[in-house]
């Protein structure tokens, strides 16, 4: 086929340009051996969830095979081992984000639950009608809807930071939104739909000048940037394990200890109490006050293994690899006629959202899938952002440490097949 010849000549793939052992990293992920529709899997939906290295899969399996018991409640050996492994993971997460204390690490189901926790515990107990919460136009629905529920409950109002056409926050407008009624700023560290890295450090400083705490939705940052909650000085930081090469169903809320101490519990139950009587109950200390019920023990242990895995690779190598891949992909797709990239921020992680003239993203997704290329199509749970760009959906390729230039070439080749099929 003409297309295939074209690609042979276009392909300027050079093994040596991937100096950071991406091929040995790939070997750590068993699923990357899979074929889909008879083609080798090209997994470019990492912003939705990342694949899991063997170390994570084994950590969960080993726990179930050898150590399974409930935590914090038994005197027997297995319970002790399970508790030790569980608390060891909390230390690992503390070091990953450089929190002052492990007590500031609350295990939750994911980013969504972390944000709901802050809304219902911190927000509901403190905010009054007329108070304001600042969000941005690029937020994921999980950093919008919990606040809308709070608005209904308390009468607080949302104020929205606008964005420019490159998909960057308008900082001047943000500055003007901050006022005496502002009670919280809740923004994405990195946009899931565009990869924009927001200037959160400066935004936090500005908020703090007004005495306003800041929650960062770190779902898309945690696996792609080093996060240091002390140097950021953020008040809350939320992320999900499954976007960090860890299991689903486990995530983290970091909160500054002083804030968490002053907050009422989110859910009631076992583990979160010190003593219970019908005359009154005293709550447990941090972090347990916010961890009611039997936690996702295997998930926490798997998350700990994921944190270790990432530490073994190191952010320097990872960032250099992912940014080189983003630059390569951006350059490769920019030659495709009729393709428009959504999100051209100067500071980006390796996410490439695009639309093709006259072809709906959903059709792109189906056709790419038949070529083995897994991408996400749709609104990415960011409908207000789509509205800003006047589109219903985009096609999004999002990269992780195990992706290669060869895979970018396959993506580009598959996009040409879409155009060929559509006669465009």
């Amino acid at each position: 086929m003409i297309l295939d010849n074209l690609f042979q000549s276009l392909s300027y793939y050079d093994e040596s340009s991937e100096k950071y052992g991406v091929h040995s990293w790939r070997a750590d992920f068993p699923i990357l051996e899979t074929s889909v529709h008879g083609k080798p899997l090209v997994y470019l939906d990492n912003a939705a969830t990342t694949q899991k290295p063997l170390a994570v899969i084994e950590a969960e399996s080993l726990y179930y095979r050898h150590d399974n018991a409930n935590v914090h409640r038994g005197v027997h050996l297995l319970s002790q081992r399970a508790t030790d492994a569980f608390e060891a993971a909390r230390f690992k997460v503390q070091h990953l984000i450089n929190a002052v204390s492990p007590d500031e690490i609350i295990f939750v189901r994911g980013t969504t639950e972390a944000i709901n926790l802050v809304a219902q515990s911190y927000g509901r107990s403190r905010f009054k009608a007329g108070d304001e919460i600042i969000l941005s136009r690029m937020e994921h629905h999980s950093n919008i809807v919990p606040w809308q529920i709070l608005c209904e409950q308390t009468g607080v109002n949302l104020r929205i930071i606008p964005i420019n056409n490159s998909g960057e926050l308008e900082l001047e407008a943000y500055n003007q939104l901050l006022n005496l009624r502002t009670k919280l700023v809740a923004v994405a560290h990195v946009s899931n739909a565009m990869g924009t890295i927001n200037p959160v450090r400066a935004m936090i400083d500005l908020a703090h000048v007004h005495g306003v705490p800041v929650l960062l939705d770190g779902a898309q940052a945690i696996a792609h940037l080093p996060v240091d909650v002390q140097s950021l000085d953020c008040d809350f930081y939320a992320f999900s394990g499954h976007k960090l090469y860890g299991p689903t169903g486990i995530g983290v809320l970091f909160g500054k200890a002083a804030l968490l101490e002053a907050m009422p519990p989110y859910q009631g139950g076992g583990d979160m109490i010190r003593s219970v009587s019908f005359d009154g109950t005293t709550y447990n200390t941090l972090p347990y006050k916010f961890e009611a019920g039997t936690p996702n023990i295997a998930g926490v242990i798997g998350l700990g293994a994921a944190v270790d895995y990432l530490a073994g690779i190191g952010f320097d190598a990872l960032i250099e690899h992912e940014l080189a891949l983003l630059a390569y992909a951006t350059q490769s797709v920019s030659d495709i006629p009729g393709l428009r990239i959504i999100g051209n921020a100067l500071e980006k992680t390796a996410i490439l959202s695009f639309v093709l003239e006259g072809i709906h993203p959903h059709d792109i997704g189906t056709i790419l899938d038949r070529h083995g290329v897994a991408i996400r199509t749709g609104h990415h749970c960011t409908m207000p952002l789509m509205e800003h760009f006047g589109i219903a959906a985009t096609a999004r390729a999002s990269f992780a440490l195990y992706n290669t230039r060869t895979e970018v070439d396959k993506l580009v080749e598959a996009i040409y097949h879409v155009k060929e099929l559509f006669g465009r």
Partner: protein, 146 residues
């Protein structure tokens, strides 16, 4: 990739690029909105029903090739059908795209049979049809494919 060609047949591209009966229908007496939350596809269907017969059908909205072509082909097909016939057609069409029943009397609509190989796209193909059912039953709320 033969199944891709089976899904994306020329007729589908034709109806995607030049949807028939596209736009508001003046004098419609039935109307319903459909929404596919998965991909954000939206369709508004207008019908003019007189003495139990659908005399006119038009649609508006934006969607993928499959949902647009399906809506376009459906509106062509509905004209002149009695309400019961339209509902029977819904069942046949639904049976065809979900692969649960074999039908060979769907005429031009058979071009959408390729959808059976793409389970994630069944909702695209049936969006307009669910909306038609709602319009005939005059359900006020937007219908979704969920």
């Amino acid at each position: 990739m033969s199944d891709l060609r089976d899904l994306y047949q020329e007729t589908i591209f034709d109806h995607y690029r030049q949807p028939r009966n596209f736009g508001r229908l003046q004098g419609a007496n039935r109307r319903a909105e459909g929404y596919n939350p998965l991909c954000g596809d939206k369709v508004t269907l207008y019908l003019r029903v007189e003495d139990g017969v659908i005399c006119n059908a038009r649609f508006e909205g934006s969607g993928c090739a499959i949902s647009t072509a399906s809506a376009s082909l459906m509106t062509e097909n509905l004209k002149g059908k009695r309400e019961e016939e339209a509902l029977q057609l819904f069942d046949k069409f639904h049976g065809m795209v979900t692969g649960s029943t074999m039908t060979n009397d769907l005429g031009k609509l058979a071009v959408l049979a390729g959808v059976t190989e793409f389970p994630q796209r069944v909702k695209c193909a049936t969006l307009a049809w669910h909306t038609m059912k709602a319009a005939l039953q005059n359900i006020g709320e937007p219908v979704t494919t969920e």
